[in-house]
């Protein structure tokens, strides 16, 4: 209950600060839309030169992309802590966080919240509806529930990966260039994993399981039965990865020595 109250206090505070710089907020939403468009353009341009991507059609790839946008939007709104190292470790902000009686990660998530990312949910669903219509997909009564679980699973996978990467900073407080690169690797989970060789498929499934935020869960909605096993693993992977990340974070916090002033 306490956490919920704190959450809503932060949200209202967030709204106030955002509304101070209205033009910038508008720009941020626009840049999100632009970012989503870029990936769509990539798919469209590529399919201008080919009809099938190892047995998957353009509309199927677009559908996967639409699905991906939904968990990614939730991730972007709450867990996008790519600059954790610079902001909290190098500048010593972590000291301030640790003096307060709420879990450190929870505080950081609240401080780094970017609620305008949630617009991505709308874009994602719109893209899915568009592609789904062209593919004549059937929607059963239980599909929205499955969708919810898949989306939460995917968002937790993403969150887990980024929290794990952020936790590395507790052990080595120097800057890393890995974070921006991760967004790119995240993109590969959106393409059918059978196009990659074994190593990359393994990495995308078990090490950096981005495939669970794209192709695996989407395979369920696209009726690709050969992938159902992986598809239903999505929520499990989400919980497992997120849990592991929090476990590592908690260990990491005890190793924090303070680097700023």
């Amino acid at each position: 209950m306490k956490h919920a109250t704190i959450f809503f206090l932060y949200v209202s505070q967030y709204m106030k600060t955002r509304l101070t710089y209205r033009v910038d907020m508008l720009m941020e939403i626009m840049s999100d839309l632009l970012f989503q468009a870029v990936n769509l353009i990539f798919i469209l341009v590529v399919f201008g030169h080919t009809d099938m991507l190892s047995g998957w059609s353009k509309d199927e790839i677009i559908f996967i992309y639409g699905f991906f946008l939904v968990p990614f939007a939730i991730f972007g709104a709450f867990f996008n802590i790519w600059d954790f190292n610079e902001r909290y470790i190098v500048k010593g902000e972590m000291d301030r966080i640790l003096t307060r009686p709420v879990h450190s990660l929870f505080q950081i998530i609240l401080e780094r919240m970017e609620l305008e990312s949630l617009f991505g949910v709308i874009t994602g669903i719109a893209v899915m509806v568009y592609a789904g219509n062209r593919l004549d997909l059937n929607v059963s009564w239980y599909d929205p529930i499955v969708f919810l679980f898949m989306v939460l699973g995917g968002a937790f996978v993403y969150a887990g990966i980024f929290i794990l990467l952020a936790s590395i900073s507790f052990w080595s407080d120097s800057r890393t260039s890995i974070m921006p690169m991760m967004y790119n690797i995240g993109n590969y989970g959106r393409y059918p994993v059978d196009i990659y060789n074994k190593v990359i498929r393994f990495v995308l499934t078990w090490i950096l399981p981005f495939a669970f935020v794209g192709v695996y869960p989407s395979a369920y909605f696209l009726g690709r039965e050969e992938w159902y096993g992986y598809a239903f693993l999505t929520p499990v992977m989400g919980v497992a990865f997120f849990g592991f990340a929090i476990f590592m974070w908690n260990i990491g916090v005890t190793k924090y020595r303070g680097a700023g002033n």
Binding site: D24, M27, T50, M52, I195
Partner: protein, 263 residues
């Protein structure tokens, strides 16, 4: 001049202190290029060539585009925005150097560091794993060198431009993000410009972005030959000169209407 070279050196040494991180960076880059390689293989799906590029040329294009990015990429737009927001820029005005020039030099120091500790070793590792073709012609390497220097200049100028805009918007994280997305797409980093539909290519001919990634990568993969190389370099050069104008103009206006929010 000496002070600017010193700035390059200091930034280089600063980066050197963090060099161990770059080895993990090379691994991540390799995974990235590897995934791209398979994705493009699937896209080609047995076709010999698309828009005049073979699969091997395409792989080379991707590899060199990402490695060159490590050289020209910098965060000086964010740094400038941060310094304006924190009010530090007021102090910079009274120091005996041109603030924007100083930022450029810091970016260059970073770029030289990444080129030597990241791009070159990374390129060697990637070329051992994936089929990548290096040109044997000395002229190609020469043109490529000129092209990536110019791509650094154009990219830095665009960064300066977005950074200086903070004077007018106060908080321009959105603009900076939008700029990054536009550059990824229109510079040819994700897709060669020649893959776009004709009308889009024509629009991009009038924009500076392809000077950043498309031109150096095409020169490296020998997708451009003969006269096209000269034309491409000229394109970069013209934009490098044109972009000085808006930067200088905004800078002069900004100095007049500077409002320090903090500091």
């Amino acid at each position: 001049m000496g002070k600017y070279i010193e700035m390059i050196r200091v930034r280089f040494l600063m980066m050197l202190a963090y060099r161990t991180n770059y080895y993990s960076g090379i691994l991540i880059y390799s995974i990235n290029i590897g995934a791209y390689y398979f994705l493009w293989n699937a896209i080609y799906g047995g076709k010999g060539e698309i828009e005049g590029l073979s699969v091997i040329q395409m792989t080379t294009y991707i590899a060199v585009a990402w490695m060159a990015r490590a050289f020209y990429f910098n965060n000086i737009d964010r740094e400038i925005a941060q310094e304006i927001k924190e009010g530090k820029v007021a102090v910079e005005f009274i120091r005996p150097y041109h603030y924007l020039m100083m930022k450029t030099m810091q970016g260059l120091g970073e770029g030289i560091f990444r080129l030597s500790f990241f791009s070159i070793p990374g390129m060697i590792i990637v070329s051992l794993i994936f089929p990548i073709e290096f040109s044997a012609a000395l002229s190609t390497w020469m043109f490529f060198t000129i092209a990536i220097i110019l791509s650094f200049i154009v990219n830095t100028q665009i960064n300066l431009l977005t950074g200086v805009m903070t004077f007018f918007f106060f908080n321009n994280d959105g603009l900076i993000r939008a700029k990054r997305v536009v550059i990824d797409l229109f510079s040819g980093l994700l897709l060669p410009i020649s893959f776009y539909p004709g009308w889009a290519q024509q629009v991009m001919d009038f924009l500076p972005f392809q000077a950043i990634s498309y031109i150096p990568s095409m020169i490296f993969t020998e997708g451009f030959t003969g006269f096209a190389v000269w034309e491409a370099i000229l394109f970069q050069l013209v934009w490098a000169v044109i972009l000085i104008l808006p930067i200088q103009a905004l800078w002069v206006i900004a100095k007049k209407r500077l409002i320090v929010q903090g500091g």
